[in-house]
Structure formats: structure tokens, C-alpha cells
């Protein structure tokens, strides 16, 4: 189990290379990577603000629940803050379990809770101006499945 909240970039591949190594009972690893999209071609960058102190606690609590519910052998959450350009990786989660169903469910659970329960806020800065990204009802609704 590890949580990292950082301004600097990370490399999903390099993180996975050392993930869950040495566990003989791991049969399934799932990773999710979130990337800054630029659908319109007008995005200059995304500014990600967070609540230092609470962020780490909130993610650790979410991660601990995932580990317990799905018997994870290992888990990893990395989330960046600060200024991120189009195509940059925002965050990743990784889960390791005996079987695929547990690894997938835990990764989706982590993502759903990170979206709506970890104290991050995104602002989009475009050529036309800037605006805070509004929370989506569908993200809040996604929590009800757990």
C-alpha cells in the first residue's frame, strides 16, 4: 500500500515495474492512468489544487477500504497537483490481487472514490479564459454501486 501526492510527473510503466513484486499469490494486476484530455484543441493547461494533509488521509482511507474489501496484495495511488498540460498524466492507481475480478473491482472503487471524495479541484485554463471543472452527477452516482 502506498499513496503519493506530488507535483512532479510520474511514469506509469516504471511504477508498475516494481509494483507487487515478490508476491507469489498475485495473479492479477490492474492499472488505471488518468490523462489530461484536450477535446477542443483549446486547452492551455489544467490547474489542480488540493488540500495538503487531508488529501493523503482521504486517499489512505479509501485505499485501506479497498485492500480490506477485495483482499488486495498490494495497491498504489499517485495523484499530481499543480499545472498539467494536455497529454500529461494526472494520476494512476494500481491493484494486485489473486484473481482478476477483485483487481478490477478494487481499481474501479478507488477511481470512483478518488473522483468524488479526495480533496482535489481542477481548473481548466483555455485560450478563452478559465473555469473550475464542475463535479458530475454521474460521478457521485457511481459511488452508490459500492
Amino acid at each position: 500500500m502506498a499513496v503519493r501526492v506530488q507535483a512532479k510527473p510520474f511514469d506509469t510503466g516504471a511504477e508498475l515495474a516494481g509494483f507487487a513484486s515478490g508476491h507469489k499469490d498475485v495473479g492479477a494486476e490492474v492499472s488505471f492512468t488518468g490523462i489530461v484530455r484536450d477535446d477542443t484543441g483549446g486547452l492551455r493547461f489544467m490547474q489542480i489544487e488540493h488540500y495538503p494533509g487531508m488529501t493523503e488521509k482521504a486517499i489512505a482511507a479509501i485505499e485501506a477500504e479497498a485492500v480490506t474489501r477485495w483482499g488486495l496484495k498490494d495497491s498504489l495511488v499517485i495523484h499530481r497537483h499543480g499545472q498539467l498540460g494536455p497529454g500529461e498524466k494526472i494520476m494512476m492507481v494500481a491493484t494486485a490481487a489473486a484473481h482478476r475480478a477483485e483487481a478490477f473491482a478494487a481499481a474501479e472503487f478507488l477511481m470512483d472514490y478518488l473522483k468524488s471524495r479526495a480533496p482535489f479541484w481542477k481548473k481548466e485554463v483555455t485560450a478563452d479564459g478559465e473555469g473550475w471543472v464542475a463535479a458530475k452527477d454521474e460521478d457521485e452516482d457511481a459511488l452508490t454501486r459500492w
Binding site: 494520476m91 468524488s116 482535489f120 481548473k123
Partner: protein, 83 residues
């Protein structure tokens, strides 16, 4: 009691400050919000619709009717958009 009050995202921008130190006898978050709204029009504007806000007490999500007894840090912010 003395409370550290933190603001994030557009709440911070609307109030114009990332944090206040507040001397208050407010019993609940809602009471504290009423006191803050009286400070200045920009506070009043930021807290006009608390249904659009979330609150954390000592870095744990809470409700607006939660008591403040024993709390040291209160944070107000919009719904989170991580991930």
C-alpha cells in the same frame, strides 16, 4: 474558541483568501457560516448557496449541521473533482 478556516478552489477565489483565523462561539458549521457571511459581501457571496459547498472538520468530510466542539480546522470547498 479559535478556528483555522480554510477555503479551496472557487470558494478561495471568491473570498480572496486561502484561510482565516476566526474567534467564534459558533455551535455548528451552519452557525459559523452565518458569522462568516456577515464579515463582508464577498463572504456572503461565497456562502450564498451552501448546497454547492462541502465542509471538512479537522480534515474529515462533515455536514453543515455538525457541532464544532473540539474542532480546530474547518475547510470549505466545492464538490471534489479528482481523478
Amino acid at each position: 474558541m479559535t478556528l483555522q478556516v480554510l477555503y479551496f478552489a472557487w470558494v478561495r477565489e471568491r473570498i480572496g483568501l486561502p484561510r482565516d483565523q476566526v474567534e467564534t462561539g459558533a455551535a455548528t458549521v451552519a452557525d459559523l457560516v452565518e458569522e462568516l457571511r456577515a464579515l463582508a459581501p464577498r463572504y456572503d457571496a461565497a456562502f450564498a448557496d451552501t448546497s454547492a459547498l462541502r465542509v471538512a472538520l479537522d480534515q474529515q468530510l462533515a455536514d453543515f449541521d455538525a457541532p464544532l466542539a473540539g474542532v480546530r480546522e474547518v475547510a470549505f470547498f466545492p464538490p471534489m473533482t479528482g481523478g
